[in-house]
Every structure is written in C-alpha cells, then in structure tokens.
C-alpha cells in the first residue's frame, strides 16, 4: 500500500485509489478523539499552520481549525479582508512572506481555480486545498466519501448521484474523482446549463430528470444552488429549480427504498432540498460535518509525515517528534 500522499493535497484527481483509502483509513482512529472529554492529542505539537482564506467560509475554516487544534498545532487565521491582500498584495508575495516566517503548512481557500497549486509550486510548506474556485475541494470530497463508506462499507459498485450545479462545483469534481477511483458508479443530475459541456467524458452517467436519478441512486449528494447563477442567467428561478430538481419527500417516497442523502452545506432549504428530507431519517448531513474534522486531522497528520499505521498510537504522541523517539 502507498505510504504517502505527497507534499500537498491539491485535489483527488491526482491521487490513486490507494492514497484515498489511506486517508480514509487514517481518519478512522481520529474520529474517536472528538468524542473524548479532552479533545486534544499532541501529534502536531510545534507545527505552525496558517489558514489562508481568501473567500468566505464558516464550516470549512472552523472544521480545519478544530482539526489543527485537536492535533495541538499552532494556528493562525488569515482572511482576505483585513490582511495585506486587501491592500493589493499578490498571491505570490503573500506566499513568500508566509514562507519567510517558517511555517509548516498552509490551508488555502481561494476563488481562483489553481490557486492552491500556484501556492504549492512556490513554497516548501505543505499546502492543503480547502477549495479553489470551481476546481476541487478535496477534503470535502473525502469527508463525503468517508460518510458513504460508514454506511455502505466497500464503495465498489455503489450508485451515487451528485445533483445540481456541477459546472461551478468544486465539491462535485472532487466527489467524481474520489468515488470513481474507489470503484463506485457515479451519476450527475442537473439542468444542462449547469453541467460542463464535456461531462460525458468524465465517465459518469447523466440524468436530465431528478426522478430518473432517484430511481437509480443509492445515495444523493445534493449540491447547494448558488443564487448568483440566477442573475447570471443559467437558470430562471429558485422556485422553478425546486419544482424541477428539488429533492422532496414525495419524490423520494416514489422510489420505495432507502436513499442516503448528503449535502455539503450550507443548505438552501426549500430550494435544492426540502426540510423534511434534510432532517429526515436517511439524511447523513450532520455525520458529514463530524467526519470533516476527522478527515482533516488525517490529512494534516499524513502531510506532516505521520505514519498511517501509527495513527492510533499518535493519539498519544507527536508525528513530527516521532523520528527522535525511534
């Protein structure tokens, strides 16, 4: 089995199935830490991590911050407003300045596709992509997959449909790469104006009608509908979107079997997903959030050089200090 995931985590397209399984397996022992009364282990003690968020984010940033703190890293949060970025500093200068402060890792969220790779190519520190434009959001993809694996076990042959705005979704891309590499069958469903023209070359099934997707799928990953898509003219209205593509209890009941419901959040209740579905018995939306912290702990741990087989033991020691003790 592959023992490393490389210097950076930029996306799931470039990872192998084994590397993805390695991250998922490493996340397992970390899940338990968050259940403890004292949610802290010293695995990343002494490491400095910068959370560089050029785009607004609540969930992802908090999730990363908890993951870092529960591994005892020292963290600094930088948001675009209130930093030198708002004074016109370029990304490359920001990167060089961070590097000059001798940090160990950067978690970056940026509105430009490729921004994480841009940074990774220019600094020695490990870079984790926390969402770059409409490219990838690998930790979200991983936490979605971990949540599916919790329910399904092996994902081989399992049918997962990603619903909504695939064209602009980094979550969709990371899910498509990750799931297909683990042998799942993947489909997408959404208005054609929100699917990439080349979607048929992704090796996924395409459903034009949500009813067909529900008939087929064992799990639906329902994407958030960004409201700027209406002003940009991709679709006419949120109301019509709900009527044609919304996931409702009524539509799910017609399938006559249990379908797992995921949503990367934040939800627009009554638009892409109805409340009784989001809050219903087959929704794993909050499990996704819980798994998010474990996945991010696993990624941080592995990039810091931690050995996956020692993840259990690392809960009591330091990844970076491990070499000294051996």
């Amino acid at each position: 089995m592959t023992e490393t995931i490389g210097k950076d985590l930029l996306g799931l397209e470039s990872l192998t199935g084994d590397q993805i399984r390695l991250i998922l397996d490493t996340a397992e022992p970390f899940k338990e830490i968050s259940e403890r009364a004292i949610k802290k282990v010293p695995a990343l003690r002494g490491s400095t991590i910068v959370n560089l968020f050029f785009e607004n984010s609540t969930r992802t940033r908090i999730s990363f911050e908890f993951a870092e703190k529960r591994l005892s890293a020292d963290t600094v949060n930088v948001s675009a407003s209130g930093s030198s970025v708002s004074k016109g500093e370029t990304l490359v200068d920001t990167a060089r300045n961070l590097e000059a402060m001798r940090i160990d890792m950067v978690v970056i969220r940026h509105s430009a596709s490729g921004a994480a790779k841009f940074l990774a190519d220019r600094i020695e520190s490990n870079v984790i992509n926390a969402g770059d434009g409409t490219h990838e959001h690998p930790t979200q993809g991983l936490l979605d997959i971990l949540t599916l694996r919790d329910r399904f076990g092996d994902l081989k042959g399992r049918r997962v449909c990603i619903c909504g705005d695939i064209l602009h979704s980094r979550v969709a891309r990371s899910n498509i790469w990750g799931l297909t590499k683990l042998g799942a069958e993947v489909a997408v469903c959404g208005p054609r104006s929100l699917l990439p023209n080349a979607i048929d070359e992704f090796g996924v099934q395409i459903f034009d009608r949500i009813e067909e997707a529900i008939d087929w799928a064992e799990a639906l990953n329902v994407l958030r509908l960004q409201f700027e898509r209406m002003t940009a003219g991709y679709i006419p209205s949120a109301r019509e979107y709900n009527r044609v593509f919304g996931i409702s209890r009524e539509r799910l009941d017609r399938a006559n079997r249990d379908i797992l419901i995921l949503h990367p959040g934040p939800m627009n209740r009554g638009v892409e997903i109805d409340s009784d579905v989001a809050d219903g018995p087959h929704s794993v939306i909050l499990d996704q959030v819980t798994n998010g912290v474990a996945i991010r702990m696993a990624v941080l741990y592995l990039l810091a050089g931690g050995k996956p087989e020692l993840a259990e033991a690392a809960k009591g020691g330091s990844a970076r200090g491990r070499e000294d003790r051996e």
Partner: protein, 440 residues
C-alpha cells in the same frame, strides 16, 4: 552604403518560383542580381551563406509592441530588434496601445519611433473605432495618410455588425484590409481557456470554438455584402477553417492568419495552470491543429502571424483566471514553424516563405516578399538545421512569457537585412570588423 554579396546560399523565392543554390548581390539597398555565381564589386561585404536559406524577409502582420503606454513591457525599438532577431524584416503593430492608435498623430508617432529604432520596419495598424470602443469609426483616411497599412480593433472584437459593415465599406476607398479579432463577446465572457474536457477538469471557464466561428461567418458574410477585404486574425479552430474555405470558394475577399502556437500546442498545455499557455483565442485541440496545418498548406489560411504579446513577467505570475492573455512570438515563430510544420513534412520551405513573406506582402500591399532584381533588399537568411534550446533570457524582446521555454527547436535566423542593411546577424561578415553586430 557598401554593396553586399550573399554567397552560396539556397535561394528560396516563391515569387519567382526559385529554389536553387546561388549568389545574391545587393547594391543601393536593392537586389542587383540573383542566381548563379556573381562576381560582386571589389568593395562589397560578403556573407557566406553556405548551408543557409536566403529568402525574402519575413513579414509579421500581427504584433503588439506596447508603445505608447507600456514601455516597461516592450517598446517599438525593442520590438523591432526582437523582430529582426526572429528573421522579420517588417512587422505590423496593433493599435491597442495607451492611448489607442486611432488618429494620424498616433500613427505618425509609431512611424517615427520605428525609424529611430532602425531595425525591422514597423508599420502601424490604425484602430477601426475611436478608442477601440466599437462605436464611432476612426479616421481611416488620415491614418493611412500618416502611414497606417490596415485597421483593426484587435484585442477587442467588433461586436456591432453594423460598425463592421461600415468599416469594410469605408476601407474600400483606401484599399486597406479590415482585420477582425473574431470573438462573440457574450459567449466568451469570463473565459480563460478552450471549452472542453480540460477546462471541465481544471474548473476554468471555457471559451467555445463557436465564439470564434460565429464572428468568422458574420465577417465573411459582411465582406460578401460590402465587397471589402476582411482579414481574420489568429484563427484557432477547425470550424473557422471550414467557414473560410466556404467563403473563398465563393470568391469573397476574405484572408486569414494562424499563429505558430495554434499550429503547435493544444489545450493540454494549460494543465498545471501554466499562465504561459494562456492566450486569446485559447489553445485548442489536436483536431483543430490538424485542420489549421492543412489550411496553411492549401492556402485557406493565407499567412502565419505571431500575435507577439509581451507582458511583464510578474503580470503572468498569478492566478490563471486573472493572468493576462498572450505570449511573445517574434523570436520563436520561425523555429516553431520549421519544427512543427516543415520537419514533419506538412510544409516545404517554399510554403514557409510564401506564408511568412510573400503572402503578407501581397495581401497587405507592403514592400518585400520578393528577391526579384530591382526589389527592395529585405532579406532573411536562416539556418534550417540549427537546433537550439529556447531560453527567454536571451530574447531581445522585453517579454519573457513563452510556453516554449526549455524546448529544443529547429531553425534559427542567421541574418536579417532591411533595405540592404544588416539589422541582425548571427554569423560573421567578411570585410567587417564588428562581429555579431546588431544595429539600432
């Protein structure tokens, strides 16, 4: 001016169906004799052209020299020297400067700067509309009087069909081509690369081939309507080639150019978000390259132009979507064409000289394009076998942004002669004390 004797080169001049070994004598800035063995006057400087190709000078009808406005990126002088180093004896400067070259004073400024540079000739192209704003027609007559050889709003498409129609009609008085940058702006808005599987993978907004093709057919139809000469800049798609072929078959006055990068690189170069692979129109697919190569061969695409577009290095050093479009091309064009079109057998050297010298001279009504006795001695001498590694730090252009960095290419300029004067040389001239002297 001393006479100049080019001895023993392979003379390739499609204008007189010539491809044979022989001498060429220049006196008084003109070709005084060509072919066979010439015993020049005693005082003549001699250039040994053994193993080299001697051809009419290359002419680039499409480059951006950035002056006035962005002299930090390129000047007319550095651009003209880079052109000479690339084997170009003349280049045409696009008007998207700051301020825009949309009046006779601005055109005259470029003419004067070019004379001072004394390297390759620089011909100004005037704007189609005042300020390139696509609203009011610029003064074609006065600009032509000051030295403009064509009009274009390049960098921006002419969105209004009515303005394009008027420009094509009005330009007929002055017998100049109207060059269009074909791009349907609502379809391409926000696009950073070709729309296709790679843009879908990278999460970059794509520009579909149709954004170009819609304007190509519009312009061809307007040329039919008006009888004007439309020249289509930087064609990049298979569909455009088919539409141009359709227009030419019907006798419509449409001409077109393709750039070396669209003839050699695909959208795959963008993977990894390399901003040196970002240009407009974007790099397309293998299928498009094949169609373009075929079209250059059969003349559907009349000529090769560089779209030389220098940028300051740190302007390209940023997020892909925010990086500016364009690459430098003057100093790599010859080698890219030799390496990607001649070496694999798509073009002969006669074809190459036709597309890079004869056709641009003829279609844009410029001096050069021929080595006939009495013609102006604008001459390119190049080594078709020389292999060299592209190192942007050696460019005479101020621009360094090229996707060919580090690649080994075949073919390089040995000497560039404008009106009988050597403006660039990479080889010794007998009788001269200064070696490798670059004038200007």
């Amino acid at each position: 001016m001393k006479p100049l004797l080019l001895r023993g080169g392979r003379l390739v001049d499609p204008s007189q169906k010539l491809d044979e070994r022989g001498d060429l004598l220049i006196t008084g800035g003109d070709v005084a004799g060509i072919g066979g063995q010439i015993n020049g006057p005693e005082e003549a400087d001699v250039i040994d052209c053994e193993g080299l190709i001697v051809s009419p000078g290359f002419i680039d009808v499409h480059c951006h020299l950035r002056e006035p406005g962005r002299e930090d990126v390129e000047t007319i002088a550095t651009g003209a020297r880079a052109a000479a180093a690339g084997g170009f004896t003349a280049v045409c400067a696009m008007p998207n400067t700051d301020p825009v070259t949309d009046n006779q004073a601005a055109v005259g400024f470029i003419v004067r700067q070019a004379l001072r540079a004394a390297a390759a000739r620089v011909y100004p192209i005037g704007a189609i509309s005042v300020g390139q704003e696509g609203k009011v027609l610029a003064e074609f007559g006065e600009m032509v009087g000051a030295g403009a050889i064509a009009v274009s709003d390049d960098g921006k498409p002419v969105a209004s069909a009515q303005l394009m129609r008027t420009a094509l009609e009005y330009a007929r008085t002055f017998k100049i081509p109207v060059i269009d940058h074909c791009e349907e702006p609502t379809l391409s808005a926000g696009g950073a690369m070709n729309e296709g599987i790679v843009s879908a993978h990278l999460g970059l907004k794509g520009i579909p081939a149709e954004a170009e093709e819609i304007m190509v057919i519009r312009d061809i139809l307007l040329a039919r309507l008006t009888g004007g000469h439309v020249h289509l800049a930087h064609m990049s798609t298979k569909g455009s080639v088919e539409l141009i072929r359709w227009g030419k078959e019907r006798g419509i006055t449409v001409t077109a150019e393709a750039c070396p990068h669209h003839l050699s690189l695909t959208e795959e170069s963008v993977r990894g978000y390399d901003t040196n692979a970002k240009m407009n129109p974007p790099l397309r697919t293998e299928e498009d390259i094949e169609a373009l190569r075929e079209a250059v061969k059969d003349g559907t695409i009349d000529l090769v132009a560089t779209d030389h577009a220098p940028h300051h290095y740190d302007e390209k050093e940023r997020e892909f979507a925010d990086a500016p479009n364009g690459i430098v091309g003057l100093e790599t064009a010859l080698a890219v064409v030799v390496t990607n079109l001649v070496e694999p057998g798509h073009l002969t050297f006669t074809d190459l000289v036709n597309r890079m010298s004869c056709a641009p001279a003829r279609l844009f009504n410029l001096a050069g394009g021929s080595l006939k006795r009495g013609a102006t001695a604008d001459i390119t001498i190049f080594d078709a076998k020389a292999r060299w590694k592209v190192d942007p730090s050696t460019f005479l252009s101020k621009g360094r942004n090229t996707p060919y960095v580090g690649m080994t290419l075949v073919g390089r300029t040995a000497c560039t002669i404008v009106a009988g004067s050597v403006v660039y040389q990479y080889l010794p001239v007998q009788g001269r004390t200064e070696m490798n002297r670059v004038r200007g």
